[in-house]
Amino acid sequence: MTLATSAWLVLACPLVGMLSIALLGKKLSPRLAGTIGTLAIALAFAFAVVTLIKLQQLPSNARLETTSLWDLANVGGVKIEVGLYIDPLSTFMILIVTGVSTLIHLYSAGYMQTDKGYVRYFAYLNFFVFSMLLLVLAGNLILLIVGWAFVGAASYMLVSYWYRRETATAAGIKAFVINVIGDIGLVLGTLFLFRTMGVLDYGQLFSNIHVAFDKDAPELVAAMLLILVGAFAKSAQIPFHTWLPDAMEGPTPVSSLIHAATMVTAGVYLIGRLHPLFEWAPTAAAVGAIIGAITLLVAGSIGLVMTDLKRVIAYSTMSQIGYMIMGVSAAAYVGGFFHLMSHAFFKALLFMAAGSIISAMGGNQSLNNMKGFRKAMPFTFACFLAGGFALSAFPLFSGFFSKDTLLYEVGARGGWYWALYVAGYVGAAFTVFYTWRMIFRAFWGQPCKEAVVVMETGDAYHPAQHTNPHTGNEDDPSTQEVEDPEVGFPGHEHRYAEKTWQMRYAMIPLAILAVFAGVIQLPFGITNVISDFLHPTFADSTVAYMPEDSGLEAFGLILSSVIAIVSLIAAYWIWVRRPGSSAAIQARLPWIHKLFVNKWYFDELNHAVIIAPMAAVGRFAKNTFERIVIDGAMVGGATGIVRAGSSVVRSGQSGYMRAYASLIVLGLIGVALYFLIESA
């Protein structure tokens, strides 16, 4: 099997899986659909490994292959192929995507077992994996946009998966709209590039960029900023981040796969993929790095005060992706992608563990109601702990090495990048606090009634009636909208990891990876698996490649360890030893708490800047329309003709022929006037 064949097969597996599940549909038993879905992705992972082996057999300076099936467009100088771009970076990504997806499919097979839409769920999930792989493997910007749009659509379908819940459909629409804004940015940016360069293939883009544009040319910067809008929207960076916390309406495995491990990292991949362009437009790259830094701080601070378990992890995801965006924009490629990988492992794991707890809680997601699950769910606890250590960058866990590599590379660039370096370490302290706040509040203390039920009956807690946690007061189910368990929760039967082998077997490998994955890229050049592997992709980078400054590296490691340990102890003090102290801090600094709880008022800002003016325009149009049609119909005659003729669009659609004819005449006069002025 050649390299190209195996890459195509990676792409084909989820597509075939999706089509067979969708087409056979109701004829399939749910269990079979789950098996097909999971096997398709597992097979894709196997082919991804084959791709990796084949790629490594090539000489290291020629680890790049492009392959194309047919032309997508070939008109008037535009030639776009359905082609793949197989190099270390895309191979790295497909390994992570297929690997993590396989485990999450397996987890879903258990978690969603009693959901009514089980078959539909797996069709969507396979479609998502196909789209993500298409995005990653695409050989030109157009195919990337195709994958990009598909991923957005898949995310929409999965966020709104429990479509009978109004909050879920609203969240899906919000996610889709913000993603479409990003898509437009990406499309326009691509057009800007195409306008000057006339090519869209990565290879040609990279080799021609230095000829086509001056360094930091305004047009190039504009194009790259537009592309960044796409990256920000997909990766939930400020100010396009508001959809991600709402997207937690989707089933928890979806949050784990799409809104933590894979889709939201697409922006990071895009910046890394187009790094020759970004390096040639340093202004745009700097904007990316700064936005990443702001996001990591803002999101981290919001994570400190959220009480919905899934939303805490969602803000954590935003914050961690802020690190990656900052990293790859600042040319910290090894660190950026290393962190992407370890984050995929530990964040997927954390979501899975959170799903397990939420199941045991009977759908309640509020940290205020969780307590003392340590003994009730030891396996989940262990996994959460592994993920938590990795997320908080505790020394020797995977997150420790990846975050540190990233910040070290950023810091080594010197100059104003120091500010980013500092921001990264401040964010690290936030990370430790929100991580351990979650863990201490959910697992320590006197067991809550749900935990007691789990311990005593060996089964999850089943509330008398299910409610939608996104309505009413999130701490008090009695204030929430009552719903059928089919509507917003996977069925009547609750599955949690201790009782469901699929969930367990999905979490174990991730836990191991979350703990140990750091060993493949240790500091001081002890191991260099990732930097060596990615080297061919980033060899052309002029700005940075793995600096040699062991002093800075050692300083970073020590600083990081100190932050992790000291903050952990402080967190323990606040939430375990002195349970009242967090409330005291809140009371002391009410405005900060309010700012954080209200998510820095970004939703309100969006509303004031975008939604409110649009709504006003809409109202105006509606009122004017009414007035004109009613008046036009009543008054008729000359005024009616004039009004109908002069009013634009629908308001002119009066149904009167005289109005239509007069508009034609008016148009004719306009056209004739134009020509006469032109001729004069």
Partner: protein
Amino acid sequence: MIAAAATSIKAPYIDWAAFSPIVALICGAVIVLLIGLLPGRRVREQIVPGATVLTLLATLGLTIWQWGENTSIISGALAVDRLSLVLNVVFVATGLVTVVMSLRERATVQAGQGEYYTLLLASLAGMAVLVAAQNLVTLFVGIELLSIPLYVLCASELQREKSLEAGLKYLVIGSVGSATLLFGLSFIYGATGSTDFSGIAAALSSKGETIASNPLMLTGLGMAVVGLGFKAAIAPFHQWTPDVYEGAPSPITSFMSVATKAAAFGIFLRFMDVAVIDEALTWQPLLAALAAITIVVGNVGALAQTSVKRILAWSSVAQGGYLLVGIVVSSAAGLEATLYYLVVYVVMNLAAFSVVVARERETTHGDSLSAFAGLGSKRPILAVPMTIAMLSLAGIPATAGFIGKLNLIGASVDGDYAWLGVLIAIGSAISLAYYLRIVAVMWMPDRRGDSPETDRPHGQPEIIGLAIICSAATIFFGIIPSPIYDLVRGAGESIGLL
């Protein structure tokens, strides 16, 4: 004196082979009319449509026989080249689809089978003449031959008031359009002294400035643009579209929305890119402005509609705006992109209309959005093609519409009209709002449970088949677009564009 004139009259040479597709259509129309007079229900309901289909197949065969020709026939009145041949295929295909859609149509009974199908064939003959026309006179003859049967067809559902209203509106407003066009053509003739496209082009290029800035010429050009824009439903000359589309019998609406549009754009392309190409710098900004207005107006207008046929009417206005972009750039790439988009537009729009027709006959809700509520679970065999058609019209990747828009955007960027490309992208984003609304209505389960029952569930296998074929083609050409490229390649060259 008369004798002298008589000896100098020479019969024009007619290349009957190249002329044969049009002849076939006209003969077919005559024969179908006569067959329609024969007594007997079976004759009317089976033989008349059968003869129509035979005529169309013969035309298709003759068109394919002439494939690759590039000649002028009848003293340069008509051109047989890639552009007209490709469009002939489009017309014949649309005609066949319309016949199939009309098989159970009430209008055919009320207006008489023979008359209905004869008018259809006559209109198709007009289209074939129109897109081949390279003379102002043939252009006008073609346009009238196309339009007059359509006026009648719109009103062919004699017992429904809306249908009559649509026909009358179309007639009156259409006459305004035709009059404008004719007026404009006479001005152009007056300014250049020629009715031949090549003669006009020669006059423009040889006399250069004096004619190019001649108010007579420019006014004529402006009026011609308005007249053609009317047929192509370009804003602000589009207002008849929603009313007429809504009122006309659905198969006729479908026919108008694709075939008439294709014909209008065919002649638009040829007229602009052959006759007045030397004036391109003058008319390009104007057409660009019209394209922009059309894209905006069409997409905005579709937003708050509840009749699916009205939505599709507005959508066709917007799609016309996209198509116009290819004319604006006046390059071979633009022409081929327009032609490409025309072909895929026909396919995806026919898929949508098949479902509308099927649904109109199955429920009592007509073409209202409510007729589509819950279609996804009740009749997925109709909901899936409709969904594909909507997604393709919106330009979602992996559908033919996406590739078509991509070509148009590419051509616009290539022709230094990048902002129009941007506008196409923005227009498509707006259009998602109404296309997805239809999709949402079909797939979202109806909470109030008042989704229409399939009241008259008599089988319509032929229409379901159409919907499936057209939607499958939409997907197929979205993934493997090369057959259409092969079809349209060379069209620009054949009329002398670079």
